[in-house]
Every structure is written in C-alpha cells, then in structure tokens.
Symmetry: C2
Subunit: 233 residues, 2 copies
C-alpha cells in the first residue's frame, strides 16, 4: 500500500474550537464568542484558536481554556474533526473540536462577559459562523451520552452542592424530570457522594437548610480502575 505525500498536499490549516459547558443552577449554559476581523466580523462563533505548525491540538485548547478561565485542568474531550472542504474562505481549514466542562462562578461569568463572551442557555444558542452549529450540536449529544453513563456532572457544580442541585443539573442535561426519592436513592447508592456536614438555605424563602455533599473523587478513581462500568439514569 502506497501513501506518498506531495509537497502540494501540505496546504491545510488546523484550528480547534471548544464547546464550554457551565451550569447556572437553573440552566445549562455554553460560552459563545464574537469574531473580530474579516471574514465574518461580528459573527457569533465558538471560542477557537489556530493550531500553529509545531503545536499539539490538545495543548492549544488547554492554552485557550487558561486564557478564558485561568485554569486548564477541566474535563476535556476531543470530538470529531470537521474537515469538509470549503468551510473557510481563506483556505482549507480542519477544525478539531473539543468540549470542556467548567465550574461557573460569578467572577468567571462576569470576567468573561467583560471580555465580550456570552454565556447562553444551550436551548437558545444563536446560529454561528463556519460550521460551529454542527460542532455545538455534536457536543451536546456527546455530553448527554457522557452524563448518562459517567459522573461527569460534578465539575459543573460548586465543590459542595445539594442533592436538589445535582438533580436540577441532571434534569437540564438530559431534558427530563426525575422523581426526587428515586433520584436520591440512586445517587446515594453509587457511594460517590460524601456528606460534608455543612448546609445552606437554597433561597431567602426556604426555611429549612439543605445538606451539602461533595464528590468522592478518590472512590471514583478506585471504581474506574477496577473497570466498574457505572450506568446512571
């Protein structure tokens, strides 16, 4: 089998876009940027970066996440590549797409909005330039599948969270309602939550405070190393 490259084959550029998900407490949000400079100036796009000749895509995306969030250790997964010809007027560009999950704090939110980014509910994302709509649709599907099978949601929540908060997160992520008692039984049975002993009042009107839990990362590592295949919901 022959695979020989001609010099004229080396004429493609690489970029990465990343679909960043966050959770407001009520809604699943995603981060949208606005493009500066032609082509498509002013258009909505996903946060994106060019991959320079000597860079690895994952590192470029981590660098981008660091610029956006001051951290690059968020859960990050490669999606498909979007490589059909004629996506970009300046030449052939292959987009190696990723999605990331971040813990949305108030500072992070206002910080990014000050820089011209927008956190938009996934149900309301506007149409974007290039093929970023396809990337977004693909990321949402992938995220949904992951949520169903793995405890990925916990980085989206504050480090300490209530059972009601996880339930709302799962309901947003999967687009359906769960029975409170059954939901609690199930997450507690997984043994991946630790009671912190703390509690908060969920709103001014709420009288009784809710118990706070945290995710037991160590236990999860142990279980996954044993090849235990957790299935949720």
């Amino acid at each position: 089998m022959k695979i020989d490259f001609l010099p004229s084959d080396f004429n493609v550029a690489l970029a990465s876009s990343v679909v960043v998900f966050g959770f407001s407490g009520d809604e699943l949000l995603t981060l949208i940027a606005t493009k500066n400079g032609e082509p498509f100036s002013g258009a909505r796009i996903l946060p994106s970066a060019i991959i320079k000749p000597d860079q690895a895509p994952e590192n470029v995306v981590k660098q981008l996440l660091r610029e956006l969030t001051q951290r690059d250790d968020w859960p990050l997964e490669q999606l498909n590549s979007f490589a059909n010809p004629y996506r970009n007027p300046s030449g052939r560009v292959v987009n190696i797409a990723y999605y990331a999950l971040v813990r949305l704090t108030d500072e992070l939110k206002s910080d990014l909005e000050a820089k011209g980014f927008k956190w938009i509910p996934v149900s309301k994302v506007p149409s974007m330039a290039y093929d970023h709509d396809d990337v977004m649709a693909y990321a949402r599907e992938r995220f949904k599948r992951r949520v169903k099978r793995r405890p990925v949601g916990f980085t989206l929540l504050p480090r300490e969270f209530t059972l009601n908060e996880i339930q709302r997160l799962y309901e947003c992520a999967l687009g359906k309602k769960f029975d409170k008692r059954n939901f609690r039984r199930k997450v507690l049975k997984s043994q991946l939550l630790l009671e912190t002993g703390n509690s908060v009042r969920s709103s001014a009107r709420a009288k009784r405070p809710s118990r706070l839990y945290m995710f037991d990362e160590k236990k999860y590592q142990t279980l996954t190393l044993k090849g235990y295949d957790i299935v949720y919901f």
Copy 2:
C-alpha cells in the same frame, strides 16, 4: 476573538486510516497493510489514504473501502483525529481515523490476502508504523463500547446466522463468556431477530442443525427513530 490564518499556517497534510473489523466465526479480525516506498518501507500500517485538497475525509475512506471490499456501505464511524506534531518525517500530517465493520466472506478474505493485506486476530496485531498502534487501540475501545449499547455486530455476521454465532461474536468482542440461556433470552427479547425457517449444521460432527436468524433492520430503524435506547450486556 480573533482567529486569523497566515499563509504559513496552511502547511499541514491530511490522511485517513481505517481500522476494519471482521469476524471469522471464532475470532475478531482486523485488516493490516504493508507499506511500500520510503519512509518505513515494509512496515505494517493500517489501510490509509491521503486526503487531497478538495476531498472530504469520509468520502476518501469510502473510496478506500470500495477498493478493498468492492462496497462502501459498511458501518463507518469517525474516531478521534491524531494530530500531534512530528508524527511523519515528510511534514506535519493529521490522521483523521475511522473504523468500519465488514462482513467477511471467504472470497473477500483471499482476495485481500492476494493483494498483500493480512487479516489478523485483534489479540495479535503487530506493532505498526506512525501512530497506528494508538489508532488501533482507540478503535478497539470504541467498538467495544458500541457493541455494548447498539446492535452493531450484525453486519459482521453472515446475513443468516445462528444464536451460537452471535454469542461467540459478543464473547469475542467483549472478551467475556455469557450464559447460553440468558444470552438467548436477551437477544430474543429485543425482537430484532427474525427466524428464517432455515437451519444449518455447525460442523460435520454436529448432528442436530441450528436454526438460522436474520437481523430485522426495519424494526431497528423504527425503534431508533422512537429514540428507544437499547442497552445490551
């Protein structure tokens, strides 16, 4: 957000490799090629093709499958892209990898072996050039996950097959044994198998013939359209 490409960014070449799985009746096999021409002449590689400037990767892979198997309508799925720098001495090459499932017949097997390809049990694949070992490992993982959740295995079997054959396939694909009675109950309950009324003797020594079934593709379409999420094994 700025993403502006310089002319010097358009210096990457694209290739696709495809991990092709087939089933011999006893073992899961995968197709390995041998490289002609430098670099790496004589090395084992995955069947691969260069993506020319105006081609879509999926079409290139379909073309490659047509050359290999005379058909391009096999189940085909994109895997991750392998894009780290310095993979290839002739310049930066991004490999958009795929995996495909084919129905292995005797002609197809001998035909490909005559062309210098080898069908090798997945448990015995040799080390390959470039980063094709990584691609292979990734493909095996993806295939395993798919087998668990979706009835993908049926294209690997002859159009008519026995329950013992599916069971062997699942046992190979997932690397574990199943109880015959439980296995049968489960696949029959899915309602995706049609009894053909035919039967075969599985070997000369076998006296009683086995019943033959086929996959009910129409029913499967209907179920997936309804969003029914099948979970197997």
